[in-house]
């Protein structure tokens, strides 16, 4: 049976053809906006921008997102997750423009820059953290407190209490470096590396890694009494994440994973403030400011772009499709915006913090042994089923969900 027709005809992207045609016909020798400046970069569909107009464009876009959602209140403690990649550095600089004394409508939130150091897991020699801290130092105008958190801390028993204790003793410092905690970080790092090597697939490794990062950020938010966490995922990242989430059965939670505001945990909001940005815009904004890109690795950075991992595949697929059909990413983002979070959930996943849908689980034997079915979302069930026994015990146990929720919920 012809499956094309029976599911509703073509979408051969005739709109995309138009877009590409117009793009190749546009003038490239003068700024599209002001009609006078020398073009510096081509963005959107073939629109050349001069440096000044480009700056205005990105700053406006950044502020517009925050303004529309009215998410920041005066005096809010704002956690800013800086991974060191191009979009996080751009986000930091864009946020700083809100503190420029010359700008009207200033941002009055109180930024807490968080650098989670997971470089010990990747074999590439140097950690990007020193370079990140140097760049954070150079950012003008914005008041800030910086937190450096070694990723392996999340595996410490009573992680939250220990961190809270350390924070209380150091809260007035400009830089709060958790590496100074009285913990055997080497030993913890070894144990973390060993845990991760017992995760059979790279896909599961990346998934669990991200979940643990979110746990660290939420825990820190709780300790600091912050209710807002800024994340730097771009439109490309979020479009790819949408497909990755769909691929692991997290369809019910797409709004949290891909919309501007991620309210998976009651009491704290993850803000995807770079949602409307392309990686190119981020990279060129950094060039405008003379900020050099920092190389940050993930588990699949050097793997095969197609079968390396689910995230690698979705990223390659979306970027590739976008190159041929320029309306791809914006359409996927529009799809995401039309979805709403589900209402019938009673708890959050122990690992990734997403609300869990009540359903008859299709659980493998491995999972039922541990009595985890109703404590994990679909995606985490899949990730953990690709892990060795010990990982399946460690990861949910190290979960800080209850502590995080206790911090925020008013019962």
């Amino acid at each position: 049976m012809c499956s094309t027709a029976s599911f509703g005809g073509n979408s051969c992207g005739s709109r995309d053809e138009e877009m590409i045609k117009r793009k190749t016909q546009k003038r490239r020798d003068v700024c599209f906006k002001c009609k006078t400046g020398d073009p510096f970069v081509v963005i959107r569909q073939g629109d050349p921008f001069c440096g000044t107009c480009f700056d205005t464009h990105v700053i406006h876009k950044f502020r517009q997102g925050l303004g529309k959602t009215k998410i920041l209140y005066p005096g809010d403690k704002l956690l800013v997750n800086i991974s060191g990649n191009v979009s996080s550095l751009a986000m930091l600089r864009l946020l700083a423009t809100g503190y420029d004394t010359a700008s009207h409508k200033k941002i009055t939130a109180d930024p807490k820059i968080v650098v989670v150091d997971d470089s010990f897991m990747f074999d590439s020699g140097e950690s990007p953290v020193p370079a990140i801290l140097r760049e954070v130092e150079r950012v003008p105008d914005m008041p800030r407190q910086v937190f450096v958190v070694p990723f392996q801390l999340v595996f410490l028993s009573n992680f939250r209490e220990r961190c809270k204790e350390f924070y209380e003793g150091n809260k007035d410092r400009k830089i709060v470096d958790f590496n100074e905690m009285r913990v055997d970080f080497e030993k913890l790092a070894d144990s973390a590396r060993s845990t991760f090597s017992n995760i059979e697939t790279v896909s599961a490794r990346e998934d669990i890694h991200r979940s643990l990062r979110l746990q660290i950020l939420s825990t820190l938010a709780g300790i600091l009494h912050s209710t807002k966490i800024m994340m730097s995922d771009t439109s490309t990242d979020l479009a790819a994440r949408l497909l990755s989430s769909v691929a692991v059965g997290r369809g019910a939670n797409l709004p949290h994973e891909t919309q501007y505001l991620d309210n998976r945990l009651p009491g704290v909001t993850f803000i995807n403030c770079m949602r409307e940005f392309t990686p190119k815009e981020c990279a060129y904004y950094l060039r405008r400011l003379g900020v050099a890109p920092i190389t940050v690795l993930t588990h699949s950075t050097l793997l095969d772009p197609i079968v390396g991992s689910v995230n690698r595949l979705t990223d390659t697929f979306i970027s590739g499709l976008q190159a041929t059909f320029p309306s791809t990413i914006s359409t996927v983002m529009k799809t995401s915006a039309k979805l709403q979070p589900m209402s019938n959930c009673s708890r959050n996943c122990d690992v990734c913090l997403l609300p869990i849908i009540q359903r008859e689980a299709d659980v493998t034997d491995k999972m039922s042994e541990l009595d985890l079915e109703d404590k994990l979302c679909n995606g985490c069930v899949i990730a953990l089923s690709e892990c060795e026994q010990d990982v399946r015990e460690i990861v949910p146990k190290s979960s800080n969900v209850k502590a995080i929720l206790d911090e925020f919920l008013i019962s």
Partner: protein
């Protein structure tokens, strides 16, 4: 013809972690364009796998190209004709964090 190739954002990982390469392009009766330079780079400079640098005839989506510090889209992308002392930069914006 001598050109400089610069790499950043993770692209250098594919080229033995070396961020700057001074390159002399072999003589050719045909003009060197980005379209011919890219495969030459892949076949001669790349130390890791080519599919992480190129896709089809162009760079992999996610890798930005600058010619003499300007967006290559302003210079004609693959059609740009390489000149002596040109600086070609590749910035990877792929993932991390």
């Amino acid at each position: 013809m001598n050109i400089t190739i610069e790499l950043a954002g993770g692209a250098e990982l594919l080229f033995g972690n070396q961020r700057k390469h001074e390159v002399t392009l072999p003589e050719s009766d045909k003009q060197w364009t980005m379209a011919t330079l890219l495969p030459w780079i892949r076949d001669n400079l790349l130390q890791e796998r080519g599919e992480l640098f190129m896709q089809g005839k162009s760079v992999r989506p996610g890798i930005l190209v600058l010619v003499n510090d300007a967006d290559w889209e302003l210079a004609g992308e693959l059609d740009y004709v390489i000149e002596n002392k040109d600086n070609i930069m590749f910035i990877s914006t792929l993932h991390g964090g």
